[in-house]
């Protein structure tokens, strides 16, 4: 092996190892892992199953809210949520039909919402504004109109 080749391979391995350590540290030590909740639900009985029998927003602490939301073609329920600036919002999500995506543009909130599974993701909203919430997983002819808003006041 040439010296240059050895240097290159050492740098490559070093860089890759650094990436692994950083992603690993963020995932396990800082709990920044991707949304991976593991709870099941009958996709045919979402409306009868708690907590999805009462979708909506609920205050659960000072500056802390829980949003229970269903996704279905081609809408979110509840729509047009409002929270005060500085609140932490815990989203609990499931789908009543096909696979949808839950993305809040301009934040890192991004999760797949699959029928039969309950997905969870949390976000703290500091900046006031009107955030676009949209479905980013193809779900049918009206996929591009599946959106709502979160207003942070």
């Amino acid at each position: 092996m040439h010296l240059d080749e050895k240097i290159w391979l050492t740098l490559s391995f070093g860089m890759i190892m650094a990436f692994m350590v950083i992603t690993g540290y963020q995932t396990f030590a800082l709990e920044m892992g991707p949304p991976s909740n593991n709870e099941l639900i009958d996709p045919q009985k979402v409306d009868e199953t708690a907590p999805f029998n009462e979708p909506g927003i609920k205050q659960i602490g000072e500056n802390e809210y829980e949003v229970v939301m269903t996704l279905q073609v081609f809408s979110f329920n509840p729509m047009d949520i409002e929270v005060p600036a500085g609140s932490t919002v815990h989203f609990t999500l499931t789908s009543k039909d096909v696979v949808h995506g839950f993305e809040i543009a301009g934040t890192n909130v991004n999760a797949m919402v699959m029928p039969g599974h309950i997905q969870k993701i949390t976000q703290k909203f500091d900046e006031p504004g009107k955030y676009l919430v949209l479905c980013n997983e193809y779900c049918g002819a009206g996929h591009q109109v599946m959106s709502t808003t979160i207003t942070v006041k």
Partner: protein, 551 residues
């Protein structure tokens, strides 16, 4: 034993089989390219599809026809050619197997295409169960896969015959590489075959009511990631083993090339979870394990980059180049067979960096399902890979049809490559930028109820339309060149360039040809990465999902 003498030309019967594959590939380029043009125009917000055609129907055409049909047919035709060239002419029986495979793939393609055109299958090429297509769509795609196994069988038979005839010798480099890609493809497609045969076909036929969505997605992505390596490895064959000959240099290291291909076989499969990082039901620790394996597959790509630039530099210096980058000037920039794939290599640098972002657990969350991802794979497959395929077609097609690449066609080919680079810079650049702002992929035009955020994406969508239109012109130019080389170019002998190693006396260790060992490790790695989370998805499954037709 002395190596069997090789003909300088691919046998014309093998050439016909390879050309049959290339014809289908270039028809796919036209159809898929047209679909792509319509998509960027729709997303600019200034154009509507004529009545009756759906955006997602066009999108399904684009994905299936370019992602599966163009690539698979081109790759099979190319691999048959390099094996025939470097391991010798196929026997009658092997060639018949190849033809059977070709027809199975073609029939499958037509069946799937008809269903898409009838609007019975607008589920995109990633299937998206519980969206449910007509069963003939799934059946057609199964035939494409089974046909590709059959063509692959011809390559495996030829390799086995060569080894028997040349005991104790290392196989020709290009044959070795074609074999690795074929084996990787077979192991990978088992996943998509399983979801289609066990889940989607019985479900779309109404034999079972429901489907396990998470299992179907997991099986698909078990296949979906190695799919991108199946596209990439033939480009690497050209870069490692053919480009050095075109520029008049040598292959930097035969062993390094073989080692990197073995690493691709091992690491490109057990990594599918990096497409499912944001899904419920899979533990974050298993996702992280596959992220680590994904990073491992970056190593052979970095080795490839080193080897390529080392062979360029060695060549330049042998021509008396001075200084750190003086060798760049010695490269044959006027030769489209070199320059067009070179544009692809350059595109692979940002493409690879973007790929690491996509795979990185947390950063993935920023870009997942945004149009950034579309921008990413238009740099990898639709620039690095496709421009390398075009670069190969410039000599392969005339070689197989007994014609010559003329100066005029070479010039057009250079223009074609430059147009591609310009168009893609606009389109992919705008896609990356809009994706970072949150614009979704796989969506028709929408102003999202007058959202201010969505309004910021529109200038980028117009840039995509500009870039996409330039790319479509480049496609038309490529088709013109292809037709010229296949039917009208002057008769003659076009060289089939096959590189030689810089140090032919350095033999690669024979352990590289020990397939029991490499396939064994491949299977172990797959079992390691998948067994526990996969069993978990089956055992802890929710009630299944009924089929939906929502387009």
């Amino acid at each position: 034993m002395i190596k069997s003498p090789l003909k300088s030309k691919v046998d014309s019967r093998d050439g016909k089989l390879a050309m049959a594959h290339l014809y289908v590939a270039f028809i796919a380029l036209l159809v898929g390219g047209l679909a792509g043009l319509l998509q960027v125009l729709v997303r600019s917000g200034k154009f509507q599809l004529p009545a009756g055609i759906g955006y997602y129907q066009i999108l399904t055409v684009h994905g299936v026809v370019l992602g599966l049909v163009l690539t698979t047919f081109f790759i099979m035709g190319f691999q048959l050619s390099v094996v025939s060239k470097t391991a010798g002419t196929f026997t009658g029986k092997q060639r018949t197997v190849g033809w059977i495979g070709f027809w199975i793939m073609t029939i499958g393609t037509i069946a799937a295409a008809v269903m898409i055109l009838l609007n019975k299958a607008s589920v995109l090429y990633t299937f998206y169960a519980p969206l449910q297509a007509h069963f003939i769509f799934y059946l057609g795609l199964t035939l494409v896969v089974v046909g590709s196994w059959t063509v692959g069988a011809a390559i495996i038979m030829k390799y086995a015959e060569w080894r028997r005839a040349n005991p104790g010798q290392q196989s020709p480099l290009l044959t070795f590489m074609a074999l690795v890609n074929t084996l990787m493809w077979i192991v990978a497609t088992i996943g998509v075959a399983a979801t289609v045969l066990i889940q989607l076909l019985p479900w779309s036929l109404g034999w079972v009511d429901t489907v396990n969505v998470a299992v179907s997605r997991t099986l698909f992505w078990y296949f979906g990631h190695p799919l991108v390596y199946f596209w990439l490895l033939p480009a690497y064959m050209v870069w490692y083993a053919i480009i050095p000959k075109i520029i008049g240099g040598k292959i930097f290291s035969d062993s390094l090339a073989r080692m990197s291909f073995i690493l691709f076989l091992l690491f490109s499969i057990p990594v599918g979870f990096h497409h499912q990082l944001l899904e419920p039901g899979i533990d974050a620790a298993w996702k992280f394990l596959q992220v680590v394996l994904t990073f491992a597959v970056v190593i052979p790509s970095l080795m490839t980059a080193f080897s390529l630039f080392a062979s360029f530099e060695t060549f330049g210096r042998s021509k008396g180049a001075k200084g750190l980058f003086g060798w760049l000037k010695k490269l044959p920039w006027g030769d489209a067979r070199f320059t067009v794939p070179f544009i692809g290599m350059v595109a692979f640098i940002p493409a690879g960096a973007g790929g690491i972002v996509n795979a990185s657990h947390q950063m993935n969350q920023v870009i997942h399902n945004t149009i950034w991802v579309t921008g990413h794979f238009h740099l990898t497959v639709a620039t690095a890979v496709v421009l390398t395929f075009f670069g190969a077609a410039f000599w392969l097609v005339p070689h197989l049809t007994g014609r010559k690449l003329t100066k005029k066609m070479n010039k057009l080919a250079l223009i074609q490559g430059s147009l591609w680079a310009i168009g893609m810079t606009f389109m992919s650049g705008a896609m990356h930028a809009a994706g970072l702002l949150g614009a979704p992929r796989r969506s028709a035009f929408s102003d999202y109820g007058g959202s201010a955020q969505a309004a910021e994406w529109i200038p980028y969508q117009i840039a995509q339309a500009v870039g996409g239109s330039i790319l479509f012109i480049a496609i038309i130019l490529m088709l013109y060149i292809f037709i010229n080389l296949a039917f009208f170019a002057p008769k003659g002998e076009q060289e089939f360039p096959v590189g030689e190693a810089l140090h032919p006396e350095e033999k690669a260790p024979m352990v590289f040809e020990n397939w029991k060992l490499w396939l064994g490790i491949t299977v172990l790695l797959i079992l390691f990465a998948y067994t526990i989370p996969f069993i978990d998805l089956i055992q802890n499954a929710p009630p299944g999902s009924k089929g939906f037709k929502l387009w």
